[in-house]
């Protein structure tokens, strides 16, 4: 016999959900911030989001609404904006609305089944950092370990999904689609969604911890699986200073060179050795120490490359012969064929130009020049990279892998520039080419 009360209840609730069941848009959260009262804004400025908050207010005035999202996509893809602005916009993309302690407590309880004060020995209600679409709190576990607890803003996954449905609708009906093919949009969506998935992030950390250990100079956090669930991720604390604090301590040129070389090695070790890399070059994700070791945090955005793609990269890095040659062009065509695309002559020329003008200069292939240091204090290197990246976009060199590789590489050069580091680029790449992943195609290793 049907339960009349219950079915009536369900109908009434479903009707209500038709009007109230809106998850909203992540974009909406950001726009909402722009309308906060002056006092609210002041409070934000005093918070841990201080710098980003200031930018958000000004950026939103310029790029309010859909244009902002579009601007972000453009900036990621093209390098149209200066790299500093790109890094700032990158952080804006990750900014979630600040959560007050009552919301933090409710969200934590929803995920863990008990409020923070019952799970931890102590829990700091004030966040010490912004995380992927959430915030990070310091806590001490019952067994006495100091940990970082990442708590995600509620409902953010659905909000991001909504934004992409919206963007697809707009992109289809406009010229934008030409610049943002579905594969690129899918790539971006997949990665922004991955940032909201703390379970996947825990898996990434479990992978990168032991994988980066051979380098000996990188520290990544450990996941406390027993204290992580859904929208809550508890990690061991990684010590180190932000780049600003590190530079303010006036490290010697030798230390800056050492750190610079290690950052470059970290990048190429991941790309050419592991075939997977930390793809979020946000300043705050790198922690610096006076002994030259580095802390790497926030593994929400990680990109895995196919072995065939990595092999192709290995074959073009430090390519010994002329780059404007048939064999080199064939390697580039092969890379596009892997993605099922035909490499247009115009795109091929742009890639050859990049390989000659940028990589040929910054990474001289001649082994005798391995001990030469490239001075990243010279801003022209960063400018050259940006110029060639723009040229690639104009030539529609849009492989999905380029989005995050480009973003990470650009972030790396910016950091090296800020460090004013002098780096033996080719020697490091050569070392990384010797690590794993070798196939018959990797002729470079013999060079």
């Amino acid at each position: 016999m049907p339960r009349r009360g219950e079915s009536a209840a369900r109908r009434a609730l479903q009707m209500a959900s038709m009007t109230a069941g809106v998850t909203g848009s992540y974009l909406g959260y950001l726009v909402q911030r722009a309308f906060l009262s002056e006092k609210g804004r002041e409070e934000k400025l005093r918070s841990t989001h201080a710098k980003a908050g200031r930018r958000i207010v000004t950026d939103l005035q310029e790029l309010r609404g859909p244009a902002m999202k579009l601007g972000q996509l453009f900036s990621v893809q093209s390098g149209i904006l200066p790299d500093e602005a790109l890094a700032e916009l990158g952080s804006l993309q990750r900014e979630a609305p600040g959560m007050h302690p009552s919301l933090v407590r409710a969200q934590f309880r929803g995920a863990m089944g008990a409020p923070p004060e019952r799970v931890f020995r102590s829990f700091d209600e004030t966040p010490f950092a912004a995380a992927s679409l959430g915030q990070v709190h310091r806590a001490v576990t019952r067994d006495g370990e100091t940990v970082a607890v990442k708590i995600q803003y509620p409902g953010i996954t659905d909000a991001v999904k909504n934004d992409f449905s919206w963007f697809r609708a707009v992109a289809t009906a406009s010229q934008i689609k030409r610049y943002f093919p579905e594969s690129l949009i899918a790539e971006l969506e997949q990665h922004i969604m991955a940032e909201t998935d703390y379970v996947a992030e825990a898996r990434n950390i479990d992978f990168f911890g032991p994988s980066l250990a051979p380098l000996g100079f990188v520290d990544v956090p450990r996941v406390r699986h027993d204290l992580s669930r859904g929208t809550v991720l508890t990690l061991s604390m990684v010590r180190g200073d932000s780049i600003e604090v590190f530079l303010a301590s006036r490290p010697s040129q030798r230390t800056r060179d050492l750190v610079g070389e290690r950052l470059l090695e970290l990048f190429y070790f991941q790309v050419l050795g592991l075939g997977a890399f930390h793809a979020d070059p946000h300043w705050g994700n790198y922690l610096f120490r006076s002994d030259g070791t580095v802390g790497l945090v926030d593994f929400g955005c990680v990109r895995h490359l196919s072995p065939a793609f990595v092999d192709n990269l290995r074959s073009v890095f430090l390519y010994p012969g002329p780059r404007d040659s048939a064999p080199f062009r064939a390697l580039l065509s092969k890379r596009y064929a892997l993605a099922g695309q035909r490499l247009a002559p115009k795109t091929q020329s742009a890639l050859v130009r990049m390989a000659t003008e940028f990589y040929g200069t910054v990474y001289p292939p001649d082994v005798e020049r391995d001990q030469e240091r490239v001075d990243f204090g010279d801003a022209s290197i960063v400018r050259l990279y940006a110029r060639e990246s723009q040229n690639l976009l104009r030539a529609k060199a849009t492989l999905p892998e380029y989005v995050f590789l480009g973003r990470t590489e650009s972030g790396l050069y910016n950091t090296l520039h800020r460090l004013q580091a002098r780096v033996r680029t080719s020697a490091i790449v050569r070392r990384c080419l010797r690590v794993g992943g070798a196939t018959a195609e990797s002729g470079v290793r013999r060079a």
Binding site: M1, R3, R4, G5, E6, A8, A9, A12, L13, Q14, A16, S17, A20, G21, T23, G24, G28, Y29, Q32, F35, L36, S37, K39, G40, P97, M99, H100, P101, S102, L103, A106, Q107, R109, G110, A111, E125, Y153, P154, G155, I156, D158, A159, G230, T231
Partner: protein, 229 residues
């Protein structure tokens, strides 16, 4: 299925008076005993409402579960609806006590105080979600005591008065505006809307309700501060 309703004329006055306030405020051992019996009845009723459904539960079943004579139930509550109302009074008492009992909230912005109030209500209701859904539909009937009785009115007024108090003590809200005056009553309606949304929220940890609460309260309080829509 016929629905049995608990109703006796002889105990009406006593039970109505007794159900008026949840806590034992009259003191003494006798009052304590009465309060303990009342709690037994409510606990038994809530367990049955949750498992059998509100409409399907009879006072006889409640009496059996509470191990009391059915007549004793009527000494405390005139109808099942009175038990439901009593429970809702406990909910409001709990939420007000939570907000007032958290020292940090004293200096918190208005939107957080209001968030904490609603969150405490939902936390209290969470174990009885199924019953709350049924009670909500029940309350839509014009004859429902849950929505249209003196006790229900008293409960609503107490809630509205507390929201009024929270708004008044907030320095950032300009006093005397039409919006400030109307806000507490509007908040009651808002709370019912949130409750309905919460009942239908299938997201993990009811995240969507938290997001809805957070965003709507921020916007609502921003309007209050501005003094206009």
């Amino acid at each position: 299925m016929p629905v049995r309703r608990a109703k006796t004329g002889s105990t009406r006055k006593t039970s109505a008076r007794a159900a008026k306030r949840p806590a034992a405020r009259r003191g003494g051992k006798r009052a304590e005993q009465k309060e303990a019996v009342r709690k037994r009845i409510v606990d038994a009723a809530l367990a049955l409402f949750q498992t059998r459904g509100f409409d399907q539960t009879t006072t006889r079943q409640i009496a059996q579960k509470a191990k009391l004579a059915e007549g004793t139930i009527f000494n405390y509550f005139e109808t099942k609806e009175d038990i439901a109302l009593y429970f809702l009074q406990l909910e409001v008492d709990h939420a007000i006590a939570t907000v007032r009992g958290t020292p940090r909230l004293r200096r918190a912005p208005l939107e957080e105080k209001l968030f904490a109030l609603v969150e405490a209500q939902l936390e209290f209701l969470a174990p009885h979600e199924k019953f709350i859904g049924a009670a909500f539909v029940h309350a839509l009937r014009p004859t429902s005591k849950i929505a249209f009785s003196m006790q229900a009115l008293d409960l609503r007024n107490r809630y509205i008065a507390f929201v009024h108090e929270l708004i008044q003590e907030s320095e950032s809200v300009p006093p005397g505006s039409l919006l400030t005056w109307a806000a507490p009553s509007a908040f009651w309606i808002y709370y019912l809307g949130v409750l309905l949304y919460w009942l239908n929220d299938v997201s993990s940890g009811k995240q969507h309700t938290l997001a809805l609460l957070d965003r709507s309260l921020k916007l609502g309080v921003a309007m209050l501060r501005k003094g206009s829509l």
